[in-house]
Amino acid sequence: MLESAEPSAPAGTLVAGAPGSLAAIEDVPEEEYKKKGIGVLAWIAIGWLVLVVGMAILAPILPIKNPTQGDYTSVQAPLFSPHHLLGSDDSGRDVLSRVIWGAQASLLIAIGSVALGTLIGGALGLWAGFKGGRHDTVLSSSFNIILAFPQLVLALLLVSIFAGTYLSNDGTTHTPSWSRRIVVVIVAVGIVSIPILARITRANALAWSQREFVMAARAQGASDWRVMLREVLPNVLPAMLSIALLGVAIVLILEGSLAIFGLSVAEPSPSWGNMVYSQLSNLNSAPPVWIVPSVLIFATVLAFNYLGDVVRARFDVRESAI
């Protein structure tokens, strides 16, 4: 009964061909639209992301050099040198190894913070849109307060306070460890992205909550939680997924912006952002050091943007709501 009400909805395509619409709750239906053909470009984008994410995950076991170990016998090697496939930097560190380890830092930040933002923002937005009334007023105004900061500035403030460099009494400068920086950046950027995800989820949940099949479910005596999670949420997911994909692209760029203010992963550990910025005063000395991560950021951001757009077009997420 509940399933049969679904095809009337514009997002009914979400579940076409699936054994039960409710499956959409558990897994993001990526396979679904692959089957129906999303075009060669989307496949290339997915392939690229699998490659990049795969390399980032496998970084510890790949046969690559130590990313922080200099080698003064082969500094500033050009691209495709015998020992440095993607060249080396001013102190002979291997660029290939640094971009792979850098991918780990950059993607961890980008995907981690958006996942956090989607989880919390999605839950709050769903609640606000579904419940309406006072719940909605309180939640929506708190989103607006966070949105009153420009995102980059709020992220800068949070990271500089919770993971800035500090001096101890003996005068040595302490730079927070790799993992502390990463965690703080993920949480800070996650907080920044909560209201964005929440607003889109709220707008969609509000629209879907008024539909006939929701009323039908209520008439059958379904509880609030059941209606929210099993009727409304599956229909809101495509919009969330679309924004989340765009969000990962935005945060990937944001990581580099934080690096410019010295607040991303700290040297000597690499991230794509700090590799680009590290060479700014000396662009010609070892060009691969900043060109390679620049190309990687561009290609990966492009892939996420494109997939976000594919999802949006497929599920007819209204742009005005974004």
Partner: protein, 321 residues
């Protein structure tokens, strides 16, 4: 009129909440804030910093005091040591804020000058090859981070001077030397504008494609009005609202972009002084700069909202917020 007053009250509330949150955050500094700021300090110096940060008072007291100073334009001084007056934060803001605002103004102007014709043209050619090419290029441009665009341009025009040479650092004021002023700002402005142009053109296109299917356009066509006149007079006018909406949505990206290029090109804007304060752990200054940026952001949003009301009589009285 009543809505304007209401918006102004909202504006003040948002400013208060934003600055209060900023000042609370400062109290979360790791360990003893005084040690963080000045490790080698003597007991007397520590006391001075404590007084300056207001660490002996509670959060609310400290905030009220800070707000009083902030409202009167007195942002205090950076910490520089006993008996030494540090950089005046107000004077830093006074020199850097106009740089940032001018930069934002140039970016917005360039964006509108290029994106509007581009959006109108691609909407007119919707579905044709030239539209598809423009769409694909636009997608690529949106994906270029500001700092990558800036770095590539510095390599091309400053380091190697292919074609023309452009200076890659420093700010020259408009009044002292207009030519130098614009040559110094060319790369920073273009670096931010690239992505903005692509976003504006794309959204304007999709809006105009919808408008072009309306009955009044068909009517205009049937009256034999030329395509050019229909596009620019009939179809673009309703989209002016969309442009304002897009501008509103992109203020954040615009300010972030400005902060980033100010650091890269040493333009001595708010971004530069903020980065400097972060590097020297001047937390009093960081708090002030962040508050200034947040207030600017809120004010620009307010202006965009007012513009929206002027353009569309329907929402002047009806919808609030």
């Amino acid at each position: 009129m009543r809505t304007i007053v209401r918006r102004a009250v909202q504006l003040i509330v948002v400013v208060i909440v934003v600055t209060f949150l900023t000042s609370i955050l400062t109290s979360f500094l790791r360990g003893d804030p005084v040690t963080t700021i000045a490790p080698y300090s003597s007991a007397q110096q520590r006391q001075e910093i404590r007084d300056q940060l207001g660490l002996n008072q509670n959060v609310v007291e400290r905030y009220v005091k800070w707000l009083g100073h902030f409202a009167t334009g007195d942002l205090g001084h950076e910490y520089a040591g006993t008996g030494v007056t540090g950089l005046s934060i107000s004077s830093q803001v006074k020199t850097s804020l106009p740089h940032s605002l001018l930069l934002i103004f140039y970016v917005e102007t360039l964006t509108l000058l290029l994106a509007v014709p581009l959006g109108v043209y691609t909407a007119y050619r919707a579905g044709k090859a030239s539209d598809n090419v423009a769409n694909a290029v636009g997608f690529g441009l949106v994906s270029i981070p500001v700092y990558v665009a800036a770095t590539v341009m510095i390599l091309i025009f400053s380091v190697n001077s292919w074609g023309i040479h452009l200076p890659s650092e420093g700010w020259v004021s408009l009044t002292s030397n207009p030519a130098q002023h614009f040559s110094h700002l060319a790369m920073p402005v273009i670096a931010i504008a690239i992505g903005q142009i692509a976003i504006y053109a794309r959204l304007l296109r999709s809006d105009m494609v919808a408008t072009l299917q309306e009955d009044f356009i068909l009517m205009a066509k049937s009256k034999g009005i030329s395509n050019r006149r229909i596009l620019w007079r009939h179809a673009l006018r309703p989209s002016s609202l969309t442009l304002v909406t897009i501008a509103g949505l992109n203020i954040g990206a615009l300010i972030s972009g400005a902060l980033i290029v100010e650091v890269i090109f040493h333009l001595n804007g708010l971004g530069s002084v903020l980065q400097d304060a972060i590097n020297r752990r001047q937390y009093v200054a960081i708090q002030d700069y962040v508050a200034v940026i947040a207030v600017v952001y809120v004010l620009i949003n307010f202006a965009v909202d007012a513009l929206y009301r002027i353009l569309d009589p329907r929402i002047r009285s009806a919808r609030i917020g």
